[in-house]
């Protein structure tokens, strides 16, 4: 139904066209990240048999449903573990893991830490939505609002700092709006000899759904446009997102 045979989309050859439109909400940032990732794959002239994409659960877990690549949709929290073992058994593979909060920071953070410490060359693309989406929009360890419905008063977890202290060779943070820079970062991350992490702060439709004020993702995109500052090589200690007054993005660690 959605095929266009005369003029295919540039990345249609890597997509399962029959599965599109996807399950994601209108304007979800995950689709933009997938689009950027597939275009970057075209740029590095990689052998597509030597690429494996691993995903976990939740909205990001659905990414593997739409790719015509070697894919594995792992169980809850085991995405990084699976990717690490895959890479250690098959060193010639280029393993890319799409993660969300539930996949590592909440349930199995030690796999991420071990992969970083042992310098396993997997590429982590971490899509940060700030909330649990499936289980009734609860606050996460990375939720930036200090006061929420369930009166969470924790400070948000600083993912780039964790990645750097584990020994990642490449750490960057972007939003889907900075799409060209995100693509360059992915290109760098895919070619690193060690552990590399790219955090993408993604607009999610469900932020304010519990208040009954369901807005549009375009409002969130405009928020990112107004409230992000690009600061390359910023010390990773300063990268907390607190109270959402200013989000620092850029490339923070690049060890070749």
């Amino acid at each position: 139904m959605t095929k266009n045979l005369e003029n295919p989309h540039p990345i249609d050859s890597l997509l399962c066209e029959n599965a599109i439109p996807s399950v994601w909400c209108p304007g979800c940032g995950i689709g933009i990240v997938v689009n950027a990732f597939l275009e970057t794959l075209g740029k590095i002239d990689a052998d597509l048999d030597k690429i494996c994409v691993v995903s976990g659960i939740g909205c990001t877990g659905k990414i593997t449903n739409y790719l015509k690549l070697n894919c594995h949709n792992s169980s809850d929290g085991n995405a990084v573990k699976y990717a690490t073992e895959l890479k250690l058994k098959n060193p010639e593979l280029n393993v890319i893991v799409f993660l969300n909060d539930t996949d590592f920071i909440v349930s199995k953070a030690e796999d991420f830490i071990n992969a970083g410490k042992n310098k396993v060359a997997i590429r982590v693309i971490y899509i940060n939505n700030f909330i649990y989406i499936i289980t009734n929009h609860k606050a996460l360890p990375v939720t930036p609002f200090i006061r929420t419905i369930d009166e969470n008063t924790e400070l948000p977890f600083n993912i780039p700092h964790l990645a750097k202290s584990c020994g990642a060779q490449y750490v960057a943070r972007w939003t889907p709006l900075h799409i060209r820079r995100l693509k360059y970062s992915m290109l760098d991350a895919l070619q690193k000899p060690g552990f590399s992490v790219v955090e993408v702060i993604s607009p999610c439709l469900m932020y304010f759904a519990t208040d009954g004020k369901i807005g549009k993702t375009i409002d969130r995109m405009k928020f990112f446009q107004d409230n992000t500052v690009i600061k390359h090589n910023e010390p990773t200690e300063n990268l907390d997102i607190r109270n959402q007054d200013e989000i620092i993005i850029g490339n923070f660690v690049d060890i070749s």
Partner: protein, 123 residues
């Protein structure tokens, strides 16, 4: 004699300089003609926008972030009940590809059609 020689050598130098200048400028000119960057400065290539309306979910990223206001939301609905973008004035499109990169549903992309004509104007 010495004066003549020096004059001659100066003349020779000059002719060599002129020749060199000509050769260099010729090479530069050829390079300039082949460089697409300058072509684009003289005339922006125009193209065509492809929209698969059944894929679209009406998020509006393409309409909002198009730098030259080529697109607008339609008043019709597609099969799933979303408004999809339509092309308002294709002549303004500069083929930056931002709509393609920002679309989460792979529903819109530009292609070049009149690029050859744009190059003909130069030649």
């Amino acid at each position: 004699m010495c004066g003549h020689q020096s004059k001659n050598s100066k003349k020779l130098n000059l002719t060599y300089r002129k020749l060199e200048f000509k050769i260099v400028s010729f090479i530069l000119y050829k390079e300039w003609k082949e460089m697409k960057f300058f072509d684009n400065n003289l005339k922006v290539p125009s193209g065509e926008i492809h929209i698969v309306k059944e894929r679209c979910k009406g998020c509006g990223f393409c309409v909002t972030y198009c730098p030259t206001n080529v697109l607008e939301m339609s008043k019709e609905f597609n099969a799933k009940g979303y408004h999809f973008p339509i092309v308002k004035n294709i002549d303004n499109c500069i083929l930056c590809g931002l709509c393609e990169m920002l679309c989460p549903e792979f529903a819109i992309w530009p292609t070049t059609t009149k690029e050859k004509e744009a190059n003909k104007v130069l030649k």
